[in-house]
Amino acid sequence: MSKGSSFLPFVFIVLVIGITLISWTIYNIYYGSSYQSLVFEESKLDTMRNEMEKIKGFSRQSLIYSSHQSLTEHAVASGMMTEAGPWICNGADPPSVADTVECLEKYTEYHVNAYLRNYSTEVPIELNIQNFSEAEFDVTESDVLSGAHDEGEMYVVLRDAKIGMSSREIEMSDLINIETEIDKNRFWYMYRIFTEWAETNMFGDGICSCASSCGDCACAENVAQESLFDLQNRFDMFVICDSQIKCCTNEHGDICGESGCEDWIQDVCFDPCGFECTDPNLIFEGPNVTNLTSYGEMPEDKLSLQAAGCHAYIPIENRLASVYTFRCIDYKYYVPTTSGPKELMFSVDAFGTFYDLDGCITEEPCTGFGCTPSSGCSSCTPPCPNYTCTA
């Protein structure tokens, strides 16, 4: 009896301990695994949130680079991609701010989406990025022309990219719009100064004067140098300009005309006017100035004036066409390029092509019967009856 009574409490205690251990284990298996999955899910959510933040940061940085990239491309291509005509086409013809902005937006959107297409992640999630559908430069003509964007200070907005992420248990998506400020880029400063310079039309008027005063390509070169001097003086000390001849031609046409300076339509030395924003190329080759080709100057006019006692002044049509590239480089702020920050280069063409029916005047001796000049379209001076013509 005494042995049995001492054994029972022992069994009871062992049972209690056993049940406690089993309950503990079951509880832990259930609670532990749910806790584990909760932690796992939380950390996966964290990872996805971090990835989302990374993509936003990446997109914002892409927007900064893409904006600078577009501005650099447009600056080197006369402010317009890619069919950019001269800013002086006999008269002033710069592209409008609205057209330039529209083209900038198109290229910026293209570049940002190109960056995004290359984005990848090492996190084991499925990533689906839908392109930005719109880029917007907050730039107006009045702001540009008043100098408000001379130092950059423009906001660029990207809209409506959709980022989707999914793993086995979790899905996450976000519609992102990004806005950033582009600073320290003087594209619009150079645009403004070039526009003001083009509006004075010193180059076009100068070529017209050359055509009207029997000028040739040397005269055109002088006009280009004077225009360059005027352009350079409009910029501050951080900008250095130069000019290069693309083409010049000079001809003499009909004689005896009397008209003033007119536009000369020809196709020898021709730069098509007007601007068109073409679609971006798939490969960006970086800022590069178009190789300038010099066509050389036409042979100088061989007409020589003849001194004669009795002579006639005979008008000859003078034709002059000239295309110059004016290029200015801003050393104040460097902008991103493929090989690190470099100076911003803005390049503009100027095109002048004129003829004047009496642009050149030649003297001819009055010879022969009736005392008329050989060309026969001008009266002799002094009049023949009072003057004996020399042979």
Partner: protein, 154 residues
């Protein structure tokens, strides 16, 4: 006498079992504590590394008006740790801005940051590449329309 010995034996077995149970619970708690602590430390490390990486995209150097990642990328494109931004802004030494920031986030000597572009790579920080580290990386845009990488080792 035998009954007394049995009682004592039972008592010792019960004490032993209670001790085993107590030890089991203690070991279990310690293990759980270690796991939780490791998880928390892991998450804290993830957070601080992600924060540090994201701050490269968000922090701007006022004088230059550019993000840190842009300055680092521009320098790496020239394969060096400084970059010239024109006559007005002048020279920016990237080590002088990156290293103090990461030292304050992660502690001096506890990190290394490698930036890779197609034109050059630059390494910041003093953590040896031979040490066992955790690596956190992020893609970065590199003009023109290309991708580079920034890798943080902690």
């Amino acid at each position: 006498m035998r009954a007394v010995i049995d009682e004592w034996l039972n008592f010792i077995i019960i004490i032993f079992l209670v001790l085993v149970v107590l030890l089991f619970f203690t070991a279990e708690s310690s293990l759980r504590g270690a796991e939780v602590s490791q998880t928390l430390r892991g998450r804290a490390l993830d957070e601080s590394a992600s924060l540090a990486l994201n701050s490269l995209f968000n922090n701007r150097l006022e004088r230059v008006d550019k993000t840190y990642i842009e300055i680092m990328t521009d320098a790496a494109l020239e394969n060096r740790d400084f970059v010239f931004y024109g006559a007005d802004v002048g020279l920016v030494r990237t080590r002088e801005i990156i290293e103090p920031m990461f030292d304050s986030y992660l502690g001096e000597g506890n990190w290394r940051l490698d930036i890779y572009t197609y034109n050059g790579n630059v390494t910041y920080g003093t953590l040896s590449s031979r040490e066992k580290t955790f690596a956190y990386s992020s893609d970065i845009p590199v003009p023109p329309n290309l991708i580079g990488k920034v890798v943080l080792h902690v």
